[in-house]
Symmetry: C2
Subunit: 342 residues, 2 copies
């Protein structure tokens, strides 16, 4: 590994000059600049990134920690994040938090240790308190995605989970469904809670009583969606629609439904969440809610870059979901026109 000293010797100049041509700082005579470049070329010189960063106190890179790498959702997120940081000419460094709050915190620290210019944190498990503490203690600017931070509104970019779930369920209701089952995503996460509350509020608004027997607590996996749906079936819970709080569980549930001889949507309607890539290719196409993850991460990166540049940032208004209606929902028993005595 040729060093800057080697280059300077070979070009017959000082290290300072080499540094100048390397960074385009200061004035350097064209002829010597050429000599330096030639020397670099000949030696196959590559600047030592670590040394540069140490001297500069910045590494021209932004860090991203996701709670896990699994799932299409994070793939989408990462891909877009990569594109956007690239657009800023910065490197993206990704780590995951092993789906555990303490590991998420460690991941942030590690990125901070590497002197990322800014860090974006996608956490599913850390408490707001812990997050705020982390923001305060971490020496590099932090942006939190997928989480509303009441004590740091400008540092977060998040999604109206509750409202989106509300919309989905209300849609089901207006389609004539009153008996709607719900399978949640992990209920100990803010996302899990918010979606369930959305479900509940929609029922409330339309005067449909809350029935605990109609909700089951899932973990986001297809397998669990399948299992919980079977439980509903075995328990004979009477519903005309099922709201699965993510598409993966909806898929699992659909298998259980099929095995029970129930057709979607003729016998039971199904609604998902996330708009997984597969949703539109399933048969029938799965109605779901689209979550603008691409724009969200893009925005998060924009904010992070601003912070890194010590510019001021303004709070970002929450992002909202949009219903994607396909064929997995049919009019229910209370649909106007088909109304029966209830």
């Amino acid at each position: 590994m040729a060093t800057m000293l080697d280059v300077s010797l070979r070009a017959g100049v000082s290290k300072a000059t080499v540094s100048r041509v390397l960074n385009g700082t200061g004035q350097v005579k064209e002829s010597t600049r050429k000599r330096v470049f030639a020397a670099m070329e000949e030696l196959g010189y590559r600047p030592n990134f670590l040394a540069q960063s140490l001297a500069n106190r910045t590494s021209n890179s932004i860090g991203l920690v996701v709670s896990t790498f699994a799932g299409f959702y994070f793939g989408r997120l990462l891909q877009q994040a990569s594109r956007q940081t690239e657009a800023y000419g910065k490197q993206l460094i990704v780590t995951d938090g092993h789906d555990a709050p303490d590991r998420e915190e460690l991941a942030v620290q590690m990125l901070a240790d590497r002197r990322c210019d800014a860090i974006i944190l996608y956490t599913r498990f850390m408490s707001e308190k812990a997050i705020i503490r982390l923001i305060d203690e971490t020496p590099v600017p932090l942006i939190v995605i997928n989480r509303e931070l009441h004590q740091a509104h400008d540092k977060c970019v998040f999604f109206e989970q509750q409202d989106a779930a509300f919309q989905a369920v209300e849609y089901l209701i207006t389609q004539g469904h009153h008996d709607i089952a719900c399978i949640t995503v992990p209920i100990h996460t803010p996302t899990g809670k918010a979606r369930l509350i959305g479900y509940r509020k929609a029922l409330e608004k339309h005067g449909i009583p809350w029935d605990p027997a109609k909700v089951k607590y899932g973990d986001s996996t297809m397998t669990r969606g399948y299992e919980l749906c079977r439980e509903f079936l075995q328990e004979g819970v009477s519903v005309s629609a099922l709201f699965a709080c993510n598409d993966d569980m909806a898929l699992g549930a659909s298998k259980a439904l099929y095995q029970a001889g129930l057709r979607i949507p003729q016998d039971i309607s199904l609604f998902g969440f996330d708009d997984a890539p597969s949703a539109r290719w399933l048969e029938p196409g799965l109605s779901t809610v689209y979550l603008p993850i691409d724009t969200m991460i893009t925005t998060a990166i924009d904010q992070a870059i601003r912070l890194a540049n010590k510019e001021t940032i303004a709070a970002i208004p929450p992002f909202t979901g949009t219903l994607v209606l396909r064929e997995s929902v049919a009019p229910g028993p209370f649909f106007p026109g088909t109304e029966q005595t209830s």
Copy 2:
């Protein structure tokens, strides 16, 4: 940011001593060790990772470059990679190559610049020549995954793509299918070529003539799977089974089939590749080939660590796929017992 000097001053010792207690190297009296720890605590000291790495010429981390972040496949890969590096107490740094050969190369360089102890490269696009050159020129050890390297057999861990495809198609044939369509993954990649060759060889072995009209060149996406399947349908290509070279395209194709009024597997059999998480939850369950990506990446990391430790490594035998048989294949027209005049 408190530095080591701050700590040493506060503890009334020299930097060297602080360094010793920090790294557990050399002998330090218990009492002073305690003073140092106390000082660190009080100052909230965190060692500067960049400085450490610069002095050590190693960063205790291993780099991973994937061609893209998109898709369940890479999620699986990344998750397992993260776990395994963690088991070694090393940090994992991930970057993507934006699905372009030159970007993949840049990604490797960037990781090398950061002095990763070793790098694992998952490339879909680089030529073998370019890879070999990269291995030679990169100052940090490189392991290539998903690619057979004839000129560096010990530096690669790969999968028998061709044989797996062969098995899948042969299975179809033994089930009585002779007219089998094929939709490839990107044909300019080694993977794309290998799977197609596997298809072709299986036909050959069973004396079934190769029919160019029965193969279409896809891009791995569900959308394209759908489109190409429609083309088959419109062209009236007569087949009793379809071999999609990945599950995503199989899903897209299944939609086209459904829309054409064709039932799987009664009217046409479908075979995928990759064993996507959704494969078993589709209706009918998709027969496909399982690719041991978890073990592969784990092995790759083991190898990388060995290289990082300057241990010797032996070539890893190729990994093989295993057929996962579900319900998307039914006996075809030439199935023994149901055989007709052909």
